[in-house]
Symmetry: none
Subunit: 204 residues, 4 copies
């Protein structure tokens, strides 16, 4: 059944092309024609692989998430606790071209999901997966004594993700002010400060 393989591969090609266009030229530039051109096909070809344009866009979002997931799981291989947490969070920073494109893509979909409940729902589902993984790593860190037990892991996970996304947004919007090293340093500082700082705040 070689046709099936080709079919999926073609889909992936087109989805990757869509992701490139969205992240580099913006959602408005991501027309069906432009995506097909980027993939090296003519516009009509999309008809064979996707139901409609929304299907392409959503597939591009999911594919981006899947790729990040694969990459970060591989990077955390053999690690746990704080070390795994650092890798997990750092991997979400726009510290190279690929990650910058991923962040840009994400931001395009954030904007769109604000007025599109179906998309927002997808986003929530996908975000929850990352959240669960961060929580798991925080709990590991607590168990390993690398992290204070005084704060709920759930809250700590949200704080960390929130900060990482904040850094990502700023780095994408103001790249001159947020070179990769600074992004990494900011996250590292945040991770280092958390155990000490949060303990103190829990007293107030």
């Amino acid at each position: 059944m070689p046709r099936i393989v080709d079919h999926d591969k073609r889909r992936e090609e087109i989805v990757a092309a869509a992701a490139r266009v969205i992240s580099r030229e913006g959602m408005d530039a991501a027309t069906v024609r432009r995506i097909a051109l980027e993939a090296g096909y003519s516009s009509g070809v999309l008809d064979h692989y996707f139901h409609d344009k929304d299907d392409i866009l959503l597939s591009a979002l999911r594919a981006s998430h899947a790729r990040i997931r694969r990459r970060v799981l591989a990077a955390m291989e053999g690690l746990s606790g704080l070390a795994a947490l650092r890798v997990l969070l750092s991997d979400n920073l726009p510290i190279d071209d690929q990650r910058r494109d991923e962040t840009r893509l994400e931001m395009q979909f954030w904007a769109r999901s604000i007025a599109d409940e179906a998309l927002a729902s997808v986003q929530r589902t996908e975000a929850d997966e990352l959240r669960r993984e961060v929580r798991r790593r925080v709990r590991e860190a607590i168990e390993a004594g690398e992290w204070p037990a005084s704060l709920p892991a759930e809250h700590a996970a949200d704080e960390l993700l929130t900060f990482v996304d904040g850094v990502s947004v700023h780095a994408v919007l103001y790249p001159a002010d947020y070179p990769p090293e600074r992004q990494q340093a900011m996250v590292d500082e945040f991770l280092a400060a958390a155990p000490a700082g949060r303990e103190l705040t829990s007293l107030s």
Copy 2:
């Protein structure tokens, strides 16, 4: 003697209508016709008050920023240092309908500015103004002994803004998880932890 109409007021009405449409229905829904309808006019009226659609959109962005500026300056009246800083940062959180709309609007423009250098330039200019104010308040806090002198004010300001924007994004995307009180608590914790935590990290 022409029809008595306050030209600037009419412009403001339309800009406000545009802002409402953008924040609630998204940038794609913000067509000229939709904006005119929201403002209570026919589509052609925009011709009298704006050069083109981009002029409307940019005006909406600037008006949103100006409104925030006015509000926060009034709220900081009589305050300085850490107290002013807290007000300044908290005012940017989407803790009520109005502020939520402002954040949504901002996020729409973030997405657009990624592929629009002219817009990105405007965003940078406006963001710098906020940044300068935050730095000024951090310096005041340092002088008042409310904040450790061990960290550059510039960096601290960026950390704070980064965190606030991270919280804002999450609160807009996942409102159920980030009720107003939690947003405020997160920022307060961050402010409280900073003096202690940062001092420690500076040793490492």
Copy 3:
């Protein structure tokens, strides 16, 4: 009754402005707003002096014709026959800025009258007036022995007007190739050749 005078004067001002816009920027640029601006008024003023835009345009055409008529009648004062004919024909050549503008205006209306029977009818009526005058002068020339009697004056008049319009069109379209002196020389040659040449052709 001073108001009446003002009213007519204002009309003339606006009509003159319309003629300027049409001849210099073309019929497409001759919007109501543009004409009003050229006249130094706001767009709504036209409502008081004209029924609609077509009224303005047609008035501009008639005014141009009237102006030419006045000028050429004055120039022919005291002349008759061939001398009057030469002045009459030469005055229609685009040999200075004013006459060039008149020819340009005329050509704009020629184009429009092709698909506008009402306008075409006006054009025919106005053209006939000029034609009659040319015929009269040809007849005078014949009577004075300056022109061969062998050819009908009606036909000679059409030939002369046809040639003059041909020169005018070329001079407007290719001004570099048709400086004023050349235009005049061409018409003079044509006038000089006609008596001799036509006599000969009538033999063939």
Copy 4:
């Protein structure tokens, strides 16, 4: 294997439709929608074959010129000198429906080119080609002794074209006064008179 359509042929169809609309209903009536309808398609189809509306209009002008060129070259086959000249000039007269449409189209573009330097430039280039051909034929006539050598061929060519265009304009504007036979007779007379008449004028 795509839908079998001759791309160039379709372009020509649409261009021909545009030419029909322009010549019969005028430039203002030549909207994209009207042209598409005339061609038997929906408005969007033009997107496949032309860059923009100006591309259609210019193509229509060029196609008209090319058609005339082809026709006149075929008609001059085997002829030279005065005989070729007569065919060349007569072919430009609006003596049948087709030629009348061509002249009307030309006049529409004349009007437009007055305020459109880009179009004027195209017109000049195309007109020069005709001019060169007329000059070549005049020179042939001079060499064959059919035409007086006393006048520069360049000037004679311009005189002839000028007269032909004058007749064409009048014939289009006042068709009742210029039936085909009369147009032809006028040009024939002009050609016959030229050798004799011009010789005389050159003495004065």
